[in-house]
């Protein structure tokens, strides 16, 4: 069987995610993000299209670098308002049977003991369809909301993450043995306390001494996602993640990231082929090439370049409003923007000179990811090419107009991929981890660092 392509939908509990300004498109429904209707319609579309998962981004803060304040973000709905992503998952899970849910929870902002319970609860309720995107947080405005005077520096945040995992891993994997739960009504014994264990951790950032509050859920540890782009981030992903989100402009860039992550995973003692790597992309498709191009042109009339620069300023820490929009971005800013600019060299031309206006135009649809435009067949060709040349496992698909973008993919691209034998006709049974890795794989593999917290079974 040829390599199967995986698809995630990429969304956020806000008015517009990666395509600034497009909430103003007459067919866009994301400004109803605060209703169940929006999420239930989306979930039904994704399950119809056999998407593996809906991946929910989150940012606990406001993009306030551009013009030195939050005004533009607030006026243009640049990922603000932003509601809690966890609260929409139970409703969607109730209305679907197979769709997975990857949710971003920044571990800087909640103690691991109650967080472990939250994830276990969701894993129970969804029958094991939950994934967790481990994020350390990246906005200063979020740190100030939490009462900190400044955000921890980048590498310290990963130290905090490592310490956090040393609380949640043993709670999920080691506190309750398999078989600890008896549910013996006749014998009046719900559980065998001899098989339930206290977990104690005394780390540099977190301390905890507790029995996990939840009985074992189908997956125990949720499927672990990670998206760090830095060297430290990739190392963290190689050690802990099962699914990795990456971003890059061209097969050349993506291919080298994929190879690097698989190499690091192998060095960490894990099976590199098991790292499922998703690259971000925005697909605009129609029944014909012309229809897809018309759609793109229509969408372009609604983009908001200033909002795009607001996003870019938040991502890079550089206030783009202070630069001449039509002059090349000065070298002094280059370091801070290397990864940001890389995202736009879709022609993989390292010598191209970028102005803020160029950047805004490119970022206004699909954020920092590439945009693929064409008929279903053309898009399918492109996706297969990316997989063949980069070794990615699938795509994290952002929207231009929602849920239209996702419905178009489900209706026009997925059938082509299915016909070509590279995309499932039906979901595999079982948990999200089983759907990704196969039967019997509900739990983390033994070569994962969380596995060391498991107890020998009685």
């Amino acid at each position: 069987m040829p390599k199967q392509i995986r698809l995630n939908a990429f969304d956020m509990n806000c008015v517009v995610h990666q395509s600034p300004g497009l909430w103003t498109h007459p067919r866009d429904k994301a400004d109803r993000y605060n209703t169940f209707d929006y999420w239930l319609e989306l979930a039904a579309i994704l399950e119809r299209g056999r998407f593996d998962a809906l991946f929910l981004a989150d940012v606990l803060g406001i993009y306030d670098v551009y013009r030195g304040g939050p005004q533009t973000a607030l006026e243009r709905a640049v990922q603000v308002p932003v509601n809690d992503p966890l609260m929409v998952i139970p409703a969607m899970a109730c209305a679907t049977r197979h769709l997975g849910f990857g949710v971003t929870c920044a571990l800087s902002y909640e103690h691991p003991y109650p967080f472990a319970r939250r994830m276990s609860t969701l894993d129970h309720l969804t029958n094991g369809r939950i994934g967790w995107n481990i994020v350390t947080g990246y906005l200063e405005s979020a740190a100030r909301g939490m009462g900190m005077t400044a955000m921890e520096d980048h590498d310290t945040r990963y130290d905090i993450a490592e310490d956090y995992l040393k609380v949640v891993y043993p709670l999920w994997e080691g506190s309750w043995e398999d078989g600890a739960v008896l549910r013996d009504r006749a014998g009046r014994r719900f559980a065998d306390p001899a098989r339930i264990h206290r977990v104690t951790h005394e780390g540099p950032y977190f301390r905890s001494s507790a029995i996990h509050l939840c009985e074992p859920s189908p997956q125990r540890t949720p499927v672990l996602y990670q998206a760090g782009a830095s060297s430290r981030g990739r190392q963290f992903a190689a050690e802990h993640a099962e699914c990795v989100f990456i971003n890059g402009p061209s097969p050349r860039v993506i291919g080298s990231i994929v190879a690097d992550i698989r190499r690091r995973a192998q060095a960490a003692g894990r099976d590199p082929a098991e790292m499922l790597i998703f690259t971000m992309m925005t697909v605009i498709t129609g029944r014909t090439t012309a229809e897809a191009q018309d759609k793109l042109a229509d969408y372009r009339r609604h983009v908001d370049e200033e909002a795009a620069l607001t996003l870019m300023s938040g991502w890079t820490g550089v206030d783009f409003s202070r630069l001449d929009p039509d002059k090349p971005v000065p070298a002094a800013h280059t370091d801070a923007m290397i990864s940001a600019l890389e995202s736009f060299t879709t022609n993989a031309d390292p010598d191209r000179v970028w102005t803020p206006r160029d950047i805004a135009r490119h970022a206004a649809i699909g954020g920092r990811g590439p945009v693929v435009v064409g008929s279903g067949t053309e898009v399918a060709d492109a996706l297969q090419d990316w997989v063949a040349t980069t070794d990615v496992d699938g795509f994290n698909l952002a929207y231009a107009v929602t849920p239209e973008t996702f419905a178009d993919i489900a209706d026009l691209v997925v059938p082509v991929l299915q016909e070509r034998g590279v995309f499932k006709h039906d979901y595999a049974p079982g948990t999200l981890r089983e759907k990704l890795y196969g039967p019997g794989r509900a739990r983390l593999r033994d070569d994962h660092p969380a596995a060391r917290y498991r107890r020998a079974q009685g």
Copy 2:
């Protein structure tokens, strides 16, 4: 119109809540607490019975005072395992139109900035059907899970609560003015940043400087519930709560608590008649008196007295396993148990001597609350008597067997109350606060302390 009686259902995201051992009853379904099925069935029953709200208790810890460890609690499912209560609400909200949801969230364990977002998100999604039970936490085991060496003392916990509210109130009430959200697609303006404000708090326990991440939700501040029994707790309730949960064995005891709370509310400058006070109760009913009594006898065969003492030990801090089960509880322990023992003097006999076995028998159905047994008519008589003699506004109804207890009330008691004109035939329109207080009352009253954080409207 005669005074209307309010009914809340009282449950917890665990195997058995207030009737230890009864999870073993063949018709009890609470051990399916970790499935959506249980919660959707419950929500449908409650909405059919026109219950005002489902009130979800929560304890982030394990009852480990009895026998000096958690073994009995784990073996007998004494409120453990206990899943996150927030995660079941979106699914139930999706499947109902009017039922309110009061949820217990202990403020010692989450920073107010992300918590404010969580509540606002739920208030949006449910169209304003959310209430928050403000709890400071009371188990040492929870504090240890959070990495603290010991729980803060009782009065300090209320100081922390006061400080916490000084962050969430202005986020909910003052950060976004009414009218700040424009949703102007043609003008490409989602919001008017001039009408959105940063909230800064520098308190002894919490600091925050942030714009609320959510646009105003239907109620802004969720309906505020509180259940403190101590003098400090009642004072806190009188100042902050809209709905108060109390507990007591007899109309005499309850009446004096109700009067005290209303007196304190008035002294705090609030309208005492607006404090909606719910007393805990367990109702066992049948089509006839005999059927109700048979049901009680049947239930009694499944109670677990040792599990009841495990609960009591956790509530009082006294290890009942160290006392002779058949000798009166020694005077040395009396202080710690005054409120606990009060709960059992259903005959209002202050001179009665209690043994641990007496206490266990009484606590094994309905925890510390009174149990009312009889036909629908008899129960309706009893509820009306309690309201008439104590001035309570309604009842927080625990279950013996779930969801059977709630279905019985919906089918046998509610119709009698409706016929007598003391219970609504249909829900009032609007948010939970409007259903409780009437049209136009979606927001907190102006005499509530949170109202001072409102901005004059443009």
